[in-house]
Every structure is written in C-alpha cells, then in structure tokens.
C-alpha cells in the first residue's frame, strides 16, 4: 500500500462526512445543481454507500437553467438510478419573477425560497450541499455541519465549534443542518478528481469558439470566460495558472459589496 495522496485524503474525508450525515440525521437529501461539484458529490456518495445513493437528490429548477443542464440531469438520473426530486417556486414564476426584477431578488425567490418550500414539504432535517471554502470569502467561514434556524437563516457570528471530526449533529426541533462534504476541496482538486475518476460533466464547461463556462447557473446570470480548454486535462492546466476567481462570471454576487453574504445569510447555498 502506498501513502494516500491529497485526492485520496479528500475523498476519504468526504466519504466520512457523507456517512456521518446519513447515520446521525433522520431525513437527509442532497442538492444537485447539475454543476461539476455536485456531480463529484454524487460520485462520492456512490462510493460511500457502495454503489447506492440512499437519499433523495433535489434539484431546485428556476426554469432559467441552460437547457443542456436539464438534458444532462435527466440522462444521468436515469443512468445512475437516482431518486430525483425536482422543485420549483411556481407561484413566483407565475407572478413573473425574472432577473430583470433584480438578480438578488430573483435568486432569493427562485432558489432560496424554492429550496425552503421543498425542505418544508418533505421535512428534511439535513441537506447536503456541494459548496467549497475556496469559492468565496463567506463560504470560507462555513462549517462542515452548519446549523440553520427555523427560517433557514445562517448565523455566521455564532457558529458551533467543530474539531476532531466531531460534528454538530444535535439540534432543536424545527431547525436543520446543511452538510458540506466538499468544503475542504478547491476548484482545482475537483477537476483533478473528475479527471482521475472519469466523472461525467456537462459539455458547457469545455471551450467552444474560445469561450467556456467555469461556473454554471441560470442562463441570464451566468457568463462564459475566454478559454481554449476543451478537455478536463486542459481545464486542470488552465486552473493551475489562473488568478481570476471562479464566481467571476456570476452576476448576482456583484450587485453590492456584500450581496453574496446577504444571499447566504438568508439561506442561499
């Protein structure tokens, strides 16, 4: 047996987190944004549970997702036999919610409120989400097991201590936990792992005509970046040298200096 390398260590730790969540919480579900990170999560879950995904996989559909994403979702869900649940804030959509009414407003209504409704409907006490510390300053502050109060809010000022892999798994009725198995991964780790394991991702990540998506969201708010990286290996190479931030293409973060923090405190992923 050789020593474990950094990807082996990240994988083992994420599997440990998945198993803790599954054992300690009554009713859990995993968010699937169709992005690369949540595909890696699905892969890790199947490793953790020996080929099974023993909880529902949730997709909050804003109706504005790029069509390729929805095609990918339906194909993979079928192939891996995933217990998929799709939720949508129909009331807000019927009332005409669109990024033109303010990007943060739109995100709050369609994603945050859409998720809240889905959680309430099914009574989930734990939600697994694929956020990473290196994505953004506020996500850097997160815990692996992160409590949310009864209105789904995150209190960044008073987070529980978390050490020695002893996670907060006790919480008051009415509250729930966000579980973040990829918190310690970087964007580069994710791509190196995708390359190593051969994990499928949406084609939108690969460059066409000098442009590719680095982060995927809704069509109106997600921009592509200039890139010639058209394979997983080329993306790894590109990321090893870049200094631009990953969410640079996500418009909702930039409405004000602390837009993203306010989104998160209110219950955004």
């Amino acid at each position: 047996m050789t020593e474990m390398n950094d990807l082996d260590q990240l994988e083992a730790q994420s599997i440990y987190i998945f198993r803790e969540a599954f054992n300690r919480l009554d009713k859990i579900a995993m968010l699937w944004s169709i992005g690369k990170d949540s595909n890696v999560m699905l892969w890790l879950a199947r490793k953790a549970f020996f080929g099974h995904v023993p909880f529902p996989v949730l997709h909050v559909d804003t109706s504005y997702k790029i069509p390729e994403m929805i095609e990918f979702r339906d194909r993979v869900a079928k192939e891996w036999n995933l217990p998929l649940i799709v939720g949508q804030n129909k009331a807000a959509l019927d009332a005409g919610m669109h990024p033109s009414q303010g990007r943060v407003n739109c995100c709050s209504a369609l994603k945050t409120e859409g998720l809240k409704a889905l959680l309430a409907e099914h009574g989930f006490t734990g939600v697994i989400a694929g956020i990473r510390r290196d994505e953004e300053g506020t996500r850097a502050k997160e815990r692996v097991f992160s409590p949310r109060n009864d209105t789904n809010e995150w209190d960044v000022r008073d987070q529980p201590p978390e050490f020695w892999d002893q996670f907060k798994t006790d919480f008051a009725p009415g509250t729930h936990l966000r579980i973040h198995p990829l918190l310690a991964w970087t964007e580069l780790d994710v791509w190196r792992y995708i390359a190593r394991e051969g994990i499928p991702v949406v084609d939108l990540y690969f460059a066409k005509n000098g442009q590719r998506y680095r982060s995927l969201g809704c069509a109106p708010c997600t921009g592509s970046i200039a890139s010639t990286a058209s394979t997983v290996e080329e993306i790894v190479e590109e990321l090893e040298t870049t200094k631009t931030s990953e969410r640079a293409g996500r418009a909702q973060d930039k409405e004000s200096e602390d837009a993203f923090e306010r989104l998160r405190a209110a219950g955004y992923m």
């Binding site: 474990m4 198993r19 599954f22 549970f49 020996f50 080929g51 960044v156 000022r157 050490f163 919480f171």
Partner: protein
C-alpha cells in the same frame, strides 16, 4: 514533492497582527486573486479609511464594520517548497471556540506576539491550547518590530518571555522571528532593518515544519461508523484511524468483545478492483465471516492489541459552555464514533493558563482548562492521548451543543466488575471478556517484587482490555483486614479472607492478581482448595539476601534491630511452595523481563486460546 498542503494555524492575542501577517503572506507568495488588493483598496477609499492587509482575510461585511476577524478562514499559498493551507484563527476571547476549531486541524502553528505589548493573556491561552490540542511545532513571530525601532534589546526581552512560558508547558518554539507584517520585513525577504537577526524568515520557518505522519504504525483502530444492508452484503463501514487491516484478519470489537474474521473488503458496484488490505486514513467497508452483532461506536482491533476499557477516565478538558462545568454535571461524551453518557465525578484541578498554576475548584468557567474525572454508565473503549491521539480525544455535548473537548490521560481505576448474576455462566463470562477468570497468587518474601510485578502485569493486561484487578497486601489491611495484626493466627485469617474475595472475583470473570507474602504453606493450600481449577500459585523466588539488600521499605533493617517482631525470613519462617504452577527467578532480570515471562504464562492459561477450549 507532495501536493498535500501543510495545515498551519496563526494564533495570538487580539490586535497583535494575525490577519495582517496572513494577508502579507498571501501577497508575498502571489496567492491573491488578481484585482483583490485593488478592489479592497477601492472599497477603503470609498469609505475613507486606510487600507489594511488584514482586509484580505476579512471578507465579511460584519468584520469590516467591527474590525475583528470573527471566524476561521482557510486560505492557501505556496512557499515554493510546498503548498500551505493557512487557518486564520481569531484572537478575541469570545471566539475561542473558533480558534480551537481552526487549531485542532492544524499540523503546526505560528504564534504571533506584538513587540511592544509582549506576551499577553491570549498569547498564553492560545499557546497552552495548542499544546493541549497536540500541536508541538510552534514558530513564534514577534510583530510590529518597526514600532519599537527594530530594537534588538526589546526583541530579546520578548523572545525570553515567550520562551519561558512555552518551556513551562513543555514546548520549545522552532524559531522566534522578528517581523513587520505591515512592512513585509522578514516575511519572505530579509530586511536591512535588523542586520542583527540571523535566523530564518517566516516562509523559511514554515518550510522547516514537518508534515504530519499518518498513523500506519500504531495498532489497528477501526471505529464502526455504520452497518449497511443496502443489498445482499452486510457491510461494516468506517474509517481506519490507525494501523492496517486485511482480508482474513480476526477482529475483536470493543467493548462488546465479540470477534470475527474479515471476509472481504468491499468496493462499490461498478468497480472491479479487488481490495485485500487498507490502512490508516482510508474510509472503507468490509464484511465478516460470522454474523456477530456489530454497531456504531464499537472499535475493531486485533486481539493482541486492544484499547483500554474503563468506566472512569481522567481527562484534561477545555470548557466552552456558557454555564460553568460543575461536579455532577451530566453530559454526552463523543469519542470517535462512540457516544457515552457521563457524569463529572471529580474536578481535580483547574489550570490557570496565565501562570500555569492550579487550584482546587468546584467549577470550571467558560474557556478554562481543568483536569476532571468522567464516569460513564457503560464501559468506554479508548486509548490515552499519548498512545493514540485519535482514540484519546473527545468532545462533550450538552443539550444540542458541543460545550467542550478533552484528551484522555488514562483510566481512573481498573475496576470493571460484573454483577453476580447466576444466569451467567463462567463460560459465557469468559467468552464475553475474551479471557478466563482466575486467581494468580504471587507468594514470596517481603521485597521480592510481588507488588511491583502485580501492578505492572495488571496495567499491561488492562491495556489489552482484560478484566483484571490486584489485591495487594498493604492495601487490604486498610479495609477488609483492618482489624488484623501480624501474629500467626491473624496472618492465617488475613489470607483466608483475601482468598475468599479473590475467588469471588474470579467467579465473576476477572483475573485476580494477589501480592501477599503468605508465608505458610497450609494457608495457601486452603485458598487453593476453594477452587483448585482457578488457583495458580506463582513463587516470586527472590532470595533473602537480595530482598534484604533491596529493602525498599526499610523493614529488614528494623527487623534486624528487633523493632518488628515476627518478620518473615528474619524472625518468622517462610515456607516456599512445594509445587507452584510457576517460579519466577527475578535475579538479574528487570521488572519488564519478569512481567513479560509472566504475561506469556497468563496468555496461555487464561487467554483467548484457553477460552476456545471451554465447552460451548
């Protein structure tokens, strides 16, 4: 070169410059996203405040308003030698739980001290906690040297002050580096400002840290995390905390003592790789060859290297609860994947991290450190922190919250007595314990080494998970035989009582070791007669000359001077056994060698192999 980043934590008193140092390190190593510094400078301009390097870390609106870093962030850079993951732990007292969250996952630490203010309360507290969390690699950075005019005398004062404190807790800093984080002196490049300083820069000091070693070489510890039955397989899942396991290994699960062999190490469907062994750090799953009862919290290990088992542990805890910890508090203790309900049985001392003094205390306040005894309703399986840190540390939970953490010093006692229940047979006790009960009767002259051997044997067996207890000559005379003297009649009665008690314990499944001179053959034979099958007479055959030369309690001297009447070997007879089960010749041997010899005998007569021969 490894891709695995070295995890370091930066700690120290509030305002001594942690965030500034980290911001500088990121800048000097080219780790900041393009435009980040420019963006922050722009924000500062808009607000009419001067730019600070610390703002790089303080990504939150709340922090910029309050001017205090409130939580641990994790940021990365590359020293040129290796990647580093830096955890910016805050210094404000309110946020000690955040500092612990950060520091507990680090492999090394940078402790920052303000050159002007010198060592402060949080400097000491953080230093102490780092040590308590098991971090021994600490580099000290003396910051704001520009504000003291790069005075070598002032640096030497602070250097001496911090070294003295750390020495008090057994830590030697790897380096003490004078810097100006704001100006960038001695962060990456050397500086003209202090030609007198010949030591490393901060980056060089970081390169000097050793990476954590995986616990491959320690005994196997596999805490069961879950048992899955998703398909036809019944998979025992968990992470190997230390050591290795392979297909065919016979595992024992503590505290239940049940055992079975690993039939297969499971991969996930879709993978056709056959795995036959796995090591520390891996999250794995395996199946067993027998359908024994296994549940979360049990620790799988090899029979010959068991964790300790006890109802009471001595521990050093740091308390984070809002209300103080008081005697009698009931808490949930989480050690690896196990949970135990414990009660605070004693608060032995509360440690003052300011002067490292200790005092008796009825309670432990928030953010304080104390030595306590925790008593569990059920037996706890663990290692001491020094033996195997991963199985020797725990957190305490009250209500919904983690309110403290601690490290295990050891078992408070070795008592682990089964209730006498006549439904339970001797055989089933032996199977549950993994060994037979019995009486190991050590006899020999005063000073022969009986008690020393007995205590060491007890410790060794207890560490292997045995139910074992020593009845010692001096100790029973404080209680059970308090009313007896040293006349022939009294000695006979003393031995009779001890013999009865020893056999009762043996029936309850324990291995009892006695350490009595027991000079009269007839007395020993009566004890043997209580249950001959359980009685093993061990003659510790150190001769009179050697015993008298040792005279550990000064008794021979007194006896020779006639101050002690009826002293065995001098003024009273010692009747050596005719046919003891074992003779231990201690001459020229260390205690360890003698105990090793005795351990082999005990394993053969009482151990796993002996249990297997019992009728089912």
């Amino acid at each position: 070169m490894s891709n695995t980043p070295l995890k370091i934590v930066v700690v120290g008193h509030v305002d001594h410059g942690k965030s500034t140092l980290v911001g500088r390190l990121l800048h000097e190593t080219g780790a900041l996203p393009e435009g980040k510094v420019e963006y922050l400078k722009e924000v500062c301009d808009k607000r009419g405040m001067p730019f600070e390097w610390a703002f790089v870390m303080d990504a939150l609106q709340a922090e910029r308003d309050q001017g205090i870093t409130i939580d641990t962030s994790q940021l990365r850079f590359h020293t040129g030698f290796r990647p580093v993951l830096i955890i910016d732990a805050p210094g404000h007292k309110e946020f000690l739980k955040n500092m612990i969250t950060g520091a507990a996952s680090a492999e090394a630490a940078v402790l920052i001290v303000d050159a002007h203010e010198g060592v402060q309360e949080q400097t000491r507290r953080h230093g102490y906690l780092l040590h308590l969390l098991g971090l021994s690699q600490i580099a000290v950075v003396v910051n704001k040297m520009d504000l003291v005019g790069w005075s070598q005398d002032r640096f030497n004062e602070v250097d001496a002050e911090i070294r003295a404190y750390l020495a008090g807790i057994g830590v030697t800093p790897t380096h003490v580096v004078p810097v100006s984080a704001r100006g960038g002196d001695f962060i990456k490049a050397r500086s003209e400002a202090a030609a007198w300083y010949q030591g490393p820069t901060v980056l060089e000091a970081l390169d000097g840290f050793a990476a954590a070693v995986t616990a491959h070489d320690l005994d196997l510890r596999f805490p069961v995390q879950d048992v899955y039955k998703f398909d036809a397989r019944r998979i025992i899942a968990g992470r190997i905390e230390s050591g290795r396991l392979k297909v065919g290994d016979k595992l024992v699960f503590s505290p239940s003592g049940k055992s079975a062999k690993i039939a297969s190490i499971e991969a996930w469907a879709g993978s056709d790789v056959t795995v036959v062994s796995a090591g520390a750090g891996q999250s794995v799953g395996f199946t067993l060859d027998e359908p024994i009862f296994v549940e979360r919290g049990q620790i799988a290990h090899l029979a010959e290297a068991a964790p300790a088992l006890a109802h009471e542990i001595k521990a050093r805890v740091f308390w984070l609860g809002r209300d103080p910890l008081v005697l009698g508090d009931r808490l949930k203790l989480k050690l690896s994947t196990a949970e135990y309900h414990v009660e605070v049985a004693a608060i032995e001392r509360v440690i003052d991290v300011e002067d490292l003094g200790s005092h008796q205390g009825a309670q432990v306040g928030r953010n304080a450190v104390a030595e306590v005894v925790l008593r569990s309703r059920s037996a706890m399986a663990f290692d001491t922190f020094g033996t195997n840190a991963r199985l020797g540390r725990f957190v305490l939970v009250h209500g919904y919250d983690i309110v403290g953490g601690g490290i295990v010093g050891g078992a408070r006692d070795t008592r682990n007595i089964f209730q006498v229940d006549h439904q339970v047979t001797t055989e089933s006790r032996a199977r549950a314990n993994g060994h037979k009960g019995g009486v190991l009767w050590l006899t020999g002259l005063s000073g022969a080494g009986k008690s020393t051997i007995a205590m060491e044997l007890e410790r060794r067996l207890f560490q292997k998970g045995w139910q074992v207890n020593v009845l010692d000559g001096d100790n029973v005379r404080h209680g059970l035989c308090r009313d007896l003297g040293f006349s022939h009649e009294d000695r006979t009665e003393n031995i009779r009582r001890v013999g009865e008690v020893a056999h009762l314990f043996a029936k309850a499944g324990m291995l009892v070791i006695t350490a009595f001179i027991s000079p009269y053959r007839a007395d020993r034979d009566r004890v043997r007669a209580i249950d001959a099958s359980a009685f093993h007479e061990i003659h510790v055959a150190t001769d009179l000359g050697a015993c008298e030369a040792r005279d550990p309690k000064g008794l021979y001297k007194k006896a020779r001077q006639g101050e002690i009447p009826d002293f065995t070997g001098i003024s009273a007879p010692y009747e050596a056994p005719d046919a003891p089960e074992l003779v231990l010749n201690t001459e020229g041997k260390s205690v360890e060698e003698t105990v090793a010899e005795l351990l082999v005998y005990v394993e053969n007569r009482f151990g796993r192999a002996a249990v297997e021969t019992l009728s089912a």
